[in-house]
Symmetry: C2
DNA sequence: GAAATAACATACTATTTTTGTCAACTTTAA
DNA sequence: TTAAAGTTGACAAAAATAGTATGTTATTTC
């Protein structure tokens, strides 16, 4: 798994979207201004997010983007995966013959690290970040997805501490 | 924390070094050929590794690099940290005023993720990878560092499963 | 239907990663 | 003491990636 600023921007933008997507779609121009991310870059990122069915778009005046499904059903891993495309961590993309004698020494390490990171990022939903942002103190109950086990950031942090 | 191919290369090279550093130093030319990493790049990376006191160099014929301390005392996090230098995950490097209204929304997320990854990468020692590579089956006992809690990859995986 | 708005698409620039080349400098061995 | 093997460092070029600018098309509103 790759972890760069690209994914960070995408997550930031998605939070903004979730935070403001109550009535009607949100225009990228607004996100750009609020989050200080260039409009062009956002357009690129949202193209990918749209192709990965995380957001839906409405063209024309009053248009913009909205989440394709409830924020509780979108994990951070989904977002990272969408914008960072390939995402393979093993260098020898699956095939085992990357080395002559001892096939791909670091294979196991990266695979395990990859799993760890996905495990974590999958456990954090967009919704949990948004409620965290809304400063809705009081450990807002977790809304879990049908596919995944999604915890709030607060709970996750508690587990670590 | 940033996770790119750069760190991957560094770890791969360090494994090779640990694997062959029994009698005398290991030349980069050998690592380059075995791991298919350009010699120039390795030289750059090992310059950083040396400045971070992870390896020592011996010049002249028969020279090369050797680990500055036992492989059990070097974690993967050490290596990543050495080659990726800055390593800050929060975008608003410490200062809280990255946003006007709601200061740096994703701040908490990235900080927590950062901790998670470090926690994991610190728990994996170079030695554990090497023993794993040597195919020394039978759960080779853990040699723990004086500073850290270092587990074997095998044990770590068991915890996750 | 014209004008404005905003997504969509493509081309371009800048930064980072990776490789290549060259010139010291150091130590061992012949 | 010379030569060879090897590190160290400084650049620069090439490739990949990140980020920006510009143009085009679809919708809505007036």
């Amino acid at each position: 798994m790759r972890l760069t600023t690209k994914g960070r921007f995408a997550v930031t933008a998605m939070i903004d979207l979730a935070l403001r997507g109550h009535d009607g779609p949100v225009a990228l121009a607004g996100i750009s201004e609020r989050q200080k991310i260039s409009l062009s870059y956002l357009e690129q990122l949202f193209g990918k997010l749209r192709r990965h069915n995380l957001v839906e778009s409405v063209r024309g005046p009053g248009g913009g983007y909205s989440l394709a499904r409830p924020a509780a059903g979108i994990s951070i891993a989904d977002i990272i995966r969408a914008v960072d495309e390939p995402l393979d961590a093993t260098q020898c993309h699956g095939r085992e013959n990357c080395q002559e004698d001892h096939r791909c020494m670091t294979h196991d390490l990266w695979a395990t690290l990859n799993d760890k990171m996905y495990e974590y990022l999958t456990s954090v939903s967009l919704d949990s970040l948004v409620s965290n942002e809304r400063k809705s103190v009081g450990a807002t109950a977790v809304v879990s997805d049908q596919r995944r086990n999604v915890r709030t950031l607060r709970e996750e942090a508690a587990l670590t501490a």
